[in-house]
Symmetry: C2
Amino acid sequence: MLDDRKLEVLRAIVEDFVSTNEPVGSKSLAARHSLGVSPATVRNDMAALEDEGYITHPHTSAGRIPTSKGYRLFVDRLSTVKPLSSAERRAIQSFLEGAVDLDDVVHRSVRLLSQLTQQVAVVQYPSLSRSEVRHLEIVHLAPNRLLLVLITDSGRVEQRVLEMPAVVSDEDVRQLREVFGPRLHGARLIDAAKALEDLPDAAPAALRPVLTSVLSVVLSTLVEHPEERIAIGGTANLTRHALDFPQTLRPVLEALEEQVVLLKLIGEANDPTTVHVQIGEENSVEGLRSTSVVTVGYGQGGLGVLGPTRMDYAGNISSVRAVARYVGDLLAGS
Amino acid sequence: MLDDRKLEVLRAIVEDFVSTNEPVGSKSLAARHSLGVSPATVRNDMAALEDEGYITHPHTSAGRIPTSKGYRLFVDRLSTVKPLSSAERRAIQSFLEGAVDLDDVVHRSVRLLSQLTQQVAVVQYPSLSRSEVRHLEIVHLAPNRLLLVLITDSGRVEQRVLEMPAVVSDEDVRQLREVFGPRLHGARLIDAAKALEDLPDAAPAALRPVLTSVLSVVLSTLVEHPEERIAIGGTANLTRHALDFPQTLRPVLEALEEQVVLLKLIGEANDPTTVHVQIGEENSVEGLRSTSVVTVGYGQGGLGVLGPTRMDYAGNISSVRAVARYVGDLLAGS
DNA sequence: ACTTGGCACTCGGACGAGATGAGTGCCAAA
DNA sequence: TTTGGCACTCATCTCGTCCGAGTGCCAAGT
């Protein structure tokens, strides 16, 4: 059905369309790529490709543009990974290594990704549940008010203020530290529930009321509903491709403001080895139907870029993968 | 030069143009507003207003639109404050009071402001330097590594990891806590330098090397270069006014990604009593020349909205002021 | 001294008719 | 199966025309 030459034609169409943003015709295509066949042959192949749904016509007398299905085939079978130059690799590394804390790492990554790809970049903060506890500090703010400060190995710091039902003594706090500390230290938050489940029994009776109260907050806010954070950047790049969004910039910007939506996008990719690509209508989020998303996990979170379906998939995939690798190393090693 | 009727005409022009986004002509203006004079008279007044630079012609046979100077006059002398309905006030209050922590307060404020005004909203986190220290925690992460956690009265939590030149003992850390704690507690960060300046002399000699090292980090990162944070939202509203930005959405989005630029915008307003309005070219930031900015301080920071010069100044001013008041109360009382 | 109605004038925008040309589909020949 | 030829389509561009909102100015009215 689809012989090698037809695939080659599809590749040429995608590449030309991505770089010129204009429907590509048989003649100019035969001229630009040395396919060794005449425009007429290309026309026949195009007709076949169109029958199969890989390309379409905007209108009768215009060239062809790839459909989502066409891009999909291109990404899966036709695009060759575009390795970054060693200069680029070094630039990425040195830029990221200049970061002073977690916020900085994330912001730099977003910036870097959006500049490398000329698209909108999205980076998830290391997920709490997949991080290990490095330290849990309990601070006695007021007679009946405690502050929990949780520090993870990836550098995230979370705090919660607890209003206690009764007055808590300094001694209570000291004991709380002793009870919680050893059990949580080094544990992954996702395993924390298990590590803490026998706590009420093991603790001195006098401490129990306070303990259960603290425990319930810890479990509910940190374990069951851990707060996920997302950084985003390069939205100005959307205007670069304004022509690709026929008056539909609005829903895209709206979607980008919804943390939930972004998490859904990134969340689907948490495996550092495989890059996920969602093209056009494949995207489950209404309003992002005209965009493509390239994501990958980096260990304790995910990151990616978002742009028009007409994007440089090969380049973006390798950029995303490269940045993810460095970010992963950086956060694991810190 | 500008009698009352001319001012009235200007007000009418601004109001009509803001609501219709179309150049307003003498005839329709005389019809819509009961000015009690004929279109011809209005024309004369318009000519006068144009001579003074308050309005212009897009082209010869079109109606008039206000210039920045015109908006400025309107804002300063002609617009009457539009008080919010008590329903709106209650809605604001209850929405903000649902916030659970500082991040939540800020995010809710941004959301609220952008929805109230249908513009881009910008909210600065409470500035560190103007906040009081509620607690400083020093955590011993590793033999030569300390973590400083600073909690302010407005709920901000900042942390810094310190790599110490030499190994630090637990006893050192305990002493550090004792030395720093009392001096900083309750002090505004901007006054911290003074509160800490005699520390090296007062401390035991053995502690000095560690102390000076910690002190220098505290002073440089928290006092001299306190990190300012900004939240932003409602960028999708920019597309609502796409017609007002003749292909210049790009520079606006770019400006919004620059923290420094935003801080500059908001930073100019830190007085909670007066609302600052910057109109069009008055704006010092290149790329925001086609926008207006309405800002006000709320105590330890500032917030505001940004939109096309053609905006509902009266409404936005009161929204911004109202939200600032509630945010200010909320953060002061927590 | 203003205000008003009248009137000629301007000019952007809308509309329609060609002209252009890239690109297609199909067919017959190689 | 490939290729050249050819008629056909249709978006886009270019003019020329027309329309009308809106202006500026002037002379008459209050």
